[in-house]
Amino acid sequence: MDYIKKTRYITFNYLFIFPAVAIFSLFYIYPFIKVIHLSLSQWDGIAFKPSAFVGLLNFKNILFNDTANWWASMGQAGYITLWALTFQNILALLLALACDRAIKAGAIYRFIFFIPPILSEVVVGLVWWWIYDGNWGLLNQWLTSAGFAHLAHNWLSPSLEEGSRLMVRMLPLTCIAIVHCWKGFGWAFIILLAGLQNIPRNLYEAAKVDGADAWEVFWRITFPIMMPVMILVVILTILGAMQGFVLILAMTNGGPYYYTEVPVTRILDSMRNGHFGFACAQSLIFGMILLILSFSQFKLSRKMQKA
């Protein structure tokens, strides 16, 4: 009797996850298997069957024979992610801490900070292009009127005459990273704020009574309790920043030269040029790298939580 009851009990548990797993299998697992199959072949995207089965040739080409500028684009996406992890998330954390107190205008601020995520990429691309434009852009206008005319640059495609090679290489990407941070900090802000709200107030009061200053309060109370939420934000930031591409297509189209290409633009390129199997291999490698990154975050956080 006990055995039947236990089986029924466990089967009922499965019902909880059934709808999710069912939808997931059809819309993710099945295409995933297809993508794996395609990554092992050569396909132009049009014929009804792949033209050749080439095994691991696509993967070999990506790892050892980089003709499609893959690893450079990966590094560039990583650069944007670094900006997002530092600048964006620290900004969001500071804002969340500031809004955590019961400020009068709190509700208004919470609304305003979420405007960038709501705006579509079209608007964001247009506005920031107007700000960054080298001829009549707002940024250069403000710098000139503030007396810093020598700082006015051609932000999105500087030429070697304007500065060093390093600047020409990194300035467009940095500008895009800033736009990405601007657009993304609203999300980090709202999630961090939700996490902060979960910390019971009496802990703070107890700390005040004990005479702790702001730093100690942050490191001893806020930080440990916020750990899971922070990990969530870090993982989401990494995933969002590495996979972002619409902004880049809207502002620089991967240029100038290959300086603002990211993995997804490279994958779309391969698809468009009839190397669909190659594109699938690129997607899988990209996914594996993201997987490793995120899981290592996970394990790291578990270790830190135990400590």
Binding site: F18, P19, A22, I23, D44, G45, I46, A47, F48, T67, A68, W129, D133, G134, N135, W136, N154, L156, S157, P158, S159, L160, E161, R165, V168, R169, P172, M251, T252, N253, G255, P256, Y257, Y258, T260, D269, R272, N273, G274
Partner: protein
């Protein structure tokens, strides 16, 4: 108390569960219930991506329905990237419509034909001693045509109907030229005069030249125009075939043209990442004197600045050895689905669409060049300037061979690098040649 909670809860749960599970269960009987589209009225479906022609097309389809009773349903899918994806997915699922506009290079075109997605229209074009064929611009038709013994292995024939034509040329702002002291009716005809004019404009504090060179196909176009001008068509074809390297002095002189423009600072800044739409609005708002753009710009400029006083000219010649060619050909071409059940009606509609009256209507509504030669008399004046140069056009799709996308990418990106100054023309040529060699090796390996 708790028992009733249970009951209510279970009911709620069941309802919620049904709400999300039942849709899934619908799928199974849904398969069996698949209905055939047996409509009594003949209905053709047409897909395209050009939002600015939607209204004009809709008006014409209504007229056609009144005339013949056949209903043509126009579906717009924009922007062009998303449209290309839709065509790809629909092709795989064999769900393409009766008529659709085609976006892509000849290689993709050939693959579609081989997959049976595009019907062969040669017979229909040939009826009545080729009356349909003769009405259309030859070059526009050639873009949709495969010649015998083409390198794609496609049966020779005409596979698409051009609805309008376009070409890409140089435009100049007459008012700004006058301001700088240049003759607005006598724009520069060769490269030397062009540079001189740009320098004069620079002295008058007017920006010189703009084009959407963030979009690599425009760089491709400009570079190849000058390549044809400097070394002639045969040598370009030989380069694509691999017989001539990209670091040949003639190619380096093509790259040097870009270098000259960039080093003398005669270009609008930010040109290496500028989209074509941005370039268009800069020229329309009289922010610069010269632009490199296609005949579709007439509609754009009219919308942004109807008083713009501008002229059209061929790109200034860099060499007098060979003629200057411009890119042109069919703007929008419609293909008929090879698997369509309404092929005859579809072809009849396309034939009607290319007749003189409809072409004149389209030209006036959308400011694009008609594909029907007989409609040239009634088009707006500025378009005539574009039409006049239709004899100088060529197009990658017209060449017997096509460059591989990777090599083209290396070429266009290399030119962007020249513009921002990180590579010299020689270095860029070396880079392109390296990629080309690799591509040739791969092609040779795959042919074995």
């Amino acid at each position: 108390m708790t028992k009733s909670k249970f009951q209510i809860l279970n009911l709620k749960f069941v309802i919620c569960y049904l709400f999300v599970i039942c849709p899934l269960l619908f799928i199974v009987p849904g398969c069996a219930k698949a209905q055939e589209n047996a409509k009594p009225v003949k209905r053709i479906v047409l897909w395209h991506w050009l939002a600015d022609r939607e209204e004009a097309l809709k008006t014409l389809t209504r007229k056609y329905k009144d005339l013949t009773g056949v209903e043509v349903k126009c579906q717009l899918y924009a922007p062009s990237d998303a449209y290309a994806q839709k065509i790809m997915a629909a092709g795989q699922a064999k769900a393409l419509p009766d008529i659709y506009g085609f976006l892509g290079e000849k290689r993709i075109f050939a693959a579609f034909i081989k997959a049976g997605h595009i019907a062969d229209l040669t017979l229909y074009m040939g009826y009545n001693n080729g009356s349909w064929k003769k009405k259309l611009f030859e070059k526009a038709l050639k873009v949709n045509e495969f010649l015998p013994e083409n390198e794609y292995g496609v049966a020779p024939g005409i596979y698409g109907v051009p609805i309008d034509v376009m070409n890409i040329q140089m435009l100049y702002n007459k008012k700004l030229l006058k301001q700088a002291g240049l003759d607005p009716n006598n724009p520069p005809r060769n490269w030397h005069d062009f540079i001189a004019a740009l320098e004069k404009l620079k002295q008058a504090n007017i920006k010189g030249f703009v084009s959407g060179w963030g979009e690599t196909w425009l760089i491709d176009c400009f570079a190849h125009n000058y390549a044809f001008n400097i070394m002639g068509e045969q040598k370009v074809i030989d380069t694509i075939k691999g017989k001539v390297p990209y670091n040949d002095p003639d190619w380096v002189s093509v790259f040097k043209l870009f270098d000259q423009l960039a080093r003398k600072q005669l270009l609008v800044s930010g040109i290496a990442t500028m989209g074509n739409k941005t370039a268009e609005q800069l020229f329309a708002n009289e922010k610069c004197a010269f632009a490199f753009n296609g005949s579709w710009c007439v509609n754009v400029y009219k919308g942004m600045n109807p008083n713009l006083d501008y002229g059209v000219m061929l790109p200034p010649q860099a060499s007098s050895k060979y003629p200057m060619v411009i890119w042109g050909g069919a703007g929008l071409s419609f293909m008929v689905n090879g698997r369509s059940k309404n092929k005859e009606e579809a072809i009849a509609f396309l034939r009607w669409l290319t007749e003189r009256d409809q072409q004149v209507f389209l030209a006036q509504e959308t400011m694009n060049l008609p594909s029907n030669r007989e409609s040239l008399a009634n088009i707006p004046a500025i378009l005539t300037q574009f039409a006049d140069d239709m004899n100088n056009i060529t197009h990658p799709n017209l060449l017997p061979v096509q460059e591989s996308p990777r090599a083209l990418e290396a070429l266009t990106k290399g030119i962007q690098a020249i513009i921002i100054g990180v590579k010299t023309p020689e270095q860029a040529a070396e880079d392109v040649q390296k990629v080309k060699v690799r591509m040739l090796k791969q092609e040779a390996a795959s042919k074995q």
